[in-house]
Amino acid sequence: MDAQQNILEIKNLTVEYVVDDEVVHAVTGVDITIPAGKTFGLVGETGAGKTTTALSILNLVPTPAGRIVSGEVSVDGEAVFGMSPKQLREMRGAKVAMVFQDPMSSLNPIKTVGEQIAEGIKIHRGVSDKEALQQATKLLEMVGIPGGRVLEYPHQFSGGMKQRVIIAIALACNPDLLIADEPTTALDVTIQAQVLKLIKELKENSRMGMLMITHALGIVAEVCDHVGIMYAGRIVEYGTLADIFDNLRHPYTRGLFDSLPDIENRRNELKPIPGLIPDPMNLPTGCAFHPRCSYAKPECSRDLPQVKWLSDTHCVSCHLYNETTENMLR
């Protein structure tokens, strides 16, 4: 096993949607690298482009509205965009698996959970029905559900257990990359804690890389190794967990943290980011965050900020750092 190998490399990805002759700039110039065994947290608010980024990895951006304008995605060194439909089918579900947000709607209500877990194993591994069901039973036990329930239907499971079933389906073929799109958002906190613990345990001693899409910084702190903060289709700050949580530099990242209530001191006032996220059909010129930014300077509305590397692991796109690597946030 090559520990240095990158499971996922996304380079300069740009995705657009064309709606009523207008162009929605969903994702612009995104770079993400996930080394083997690591978890990358992609953080941002509704409409930031997180899910579109994830769908691009599987070449699942809905067409004809969606269009991958430029960029490269490679999974385990193989370029995704050049793949034939057959190669894509072989990759999806086997090399790359996805866990969606809503456990209620991502299971088939008229198939047993065992059949649904076994389906991918049969398709990708070519084993018999009986053997696939045996493996499904083992997977069910691995995610903490008694194997005896393998022939039950989704409606017989609670929300937390359904999400465990979906994780079992995703892990059925030992994927190299697991994409989890808000995997615990629909769950209650005590169940969320159980599922996050399960995800962490399953990742231990595995070379599987994970892309965790979330809007919750609390979940990032718990499971991620690296973090990208996304705003209006671009990654504005990128670094290790410590870079982002101890040494954040972008005014938007600061705004996200300041919007969260302080659990230790309930009287601390919330400092929300003023205004709203911009219309992706009509993004502001220059830095897309400048109309909401309290640090905005004249060049912010004029020029797009360049990516500035502050250390080997930490980069930020903000005009505050054009001449310096010092922390410019007050």
Binding site: L217, S259, P261
Partner: protein, 320 residues
């Protein structure tokens, strides 16, 4: 201590379902003082939404008493209740489904004022709508837009403006910020706090988000399967939780920091069924401190310290 605005006594709401009787709200009692905020927390299915609606008699209670300003709401006739509802409003969780898609923003905000006949003159009514839009931070240019043209944060502002239209004394806020992004959530929470500071309004704030409830509420009540299991001022509840369920709930909050992380108490299993519950502690099967008595006798909610109430056999009432 201020004047009691709302007092709920032994409130019960049972639903008859195919499998038996579902105890959605089971013998809940509490008091809420004027100008304060009581947070109700609990997980899905614990009965918090049903309780909020039952208090307003949007759902008729099975039994119990609801005193609003000393008046028993359950004894009011339909027309008396309708009049009383001017003082009690509600903000719903989902700003996408709680607004009429065929009404403009101004029509939505104006409707309660017009129906109540508060301001008969239509020009003055329009001024009042503009006033309310200012209060909740909606630009006047949005006055003729429809809900589908607005984002979630603005829709929730419309919901708040509509609730404020009658100058109510009391608002039930049912997960008002749960469907919003964090930056917008903070804007709405600050707005609701400002309104409270300016008008002295009383909130019953229902949520599953513990960090939000801690920030927003003066007192917090924790619900589990239809029961109040703990109620205390926010500081005491967060610093010295007494009920094992509250402890576990607090330890499960994902904290946005990487140092000083807390030990997490993992709960076994999931919520049990609220249908035909046995008269024992409903949390006992998941509790890591479960004793013999817990599976035999249901613990009552008792005051164990001044203003700190808990329903758990581990804790004895004050002075006993």
């Amino acid at each position: 201590m201020g004047q009691t605005l709302l007092e709920v006594k032994n409130l019960k709401k049972y639903f008859h379902v195919h499998a038996g009787t579902l105890h959605a709200v089971d013998d809940v009692s509490f008091k809420l003082e004027e100008g304060r905020t009581l947070g109700i927390v609990g997980e899905s299915g614990c009965g918090k939404t049903t309780m909020g609606r039952t208090i307003l008699r949007l759902i008729e209670p099975t039994s119990g008493e609801i005193f609003f300003n000393g008046q028993d709401l359950r004894k009011l006739s339909a027309s008396e209740l309708r009049y009383k509802r001017r003082e009690m409003q509600i903000i719903f969780q989902d700003p996408y489904s709680s607004l009429n898609p065929r009404k403009t923003i101004s029509e939505t905000i104006e409707e309660p004022i017009r129906l109540a006949g508060l301001i008969p003159d239509s020009d003055k009514r329009f001024m009042r709508v503009l006033d309310l839009m200012d209060t909740v931070g909606l630009a006047h240019r949005l006055i003729n837009t429809y809900p589908h043209e607005l984002d979630g944060g603005r829709r929730q502002r419309v919901g708040i403006a509509r609730a404020l239209a009658m100058n109510p004394k009391f608002i039930v806020c049912d997960e008002p910020v749960s469907s919003l992004d964090v930056s917008i959530q903070a804007q709405i929470l600050n707005l609701m706090k400002t309104i409270q500071r300016d008008t002295g309004i009383t909130y019953l704030f229902i949520t599953h988000d513990l960090s939000v409830v801690n920030h927003f509420s003066d007192d917090i009540a924790v619900m589990y399967l239809g029961r109040l299991v703990e109620k205390a001022p926010s500081e005491s509840l967060f610093h010295e939780p007494l009920h094992p369920y509250t402890e576990a709930l607090l330890s499960a909050i994902p904290l946005a920091r990487i140092h000083n992380r807390r030990e997490r108490i993992m709960l076994k299993g999931e919520l049990t069924s609220p249908i035909n519950p046995e008269p024992v502690c409903r949390f006992a099967v998941r509790c890591n401190k479960c004793m013999d008595i817990c599976t035999k006798v249901e613990p009552p909610l008792v005051e164990v310290r001044p203003n700190h109430f808990v329903a758990c056999h581990l804790h004895k009432p004050m002075g006993s």
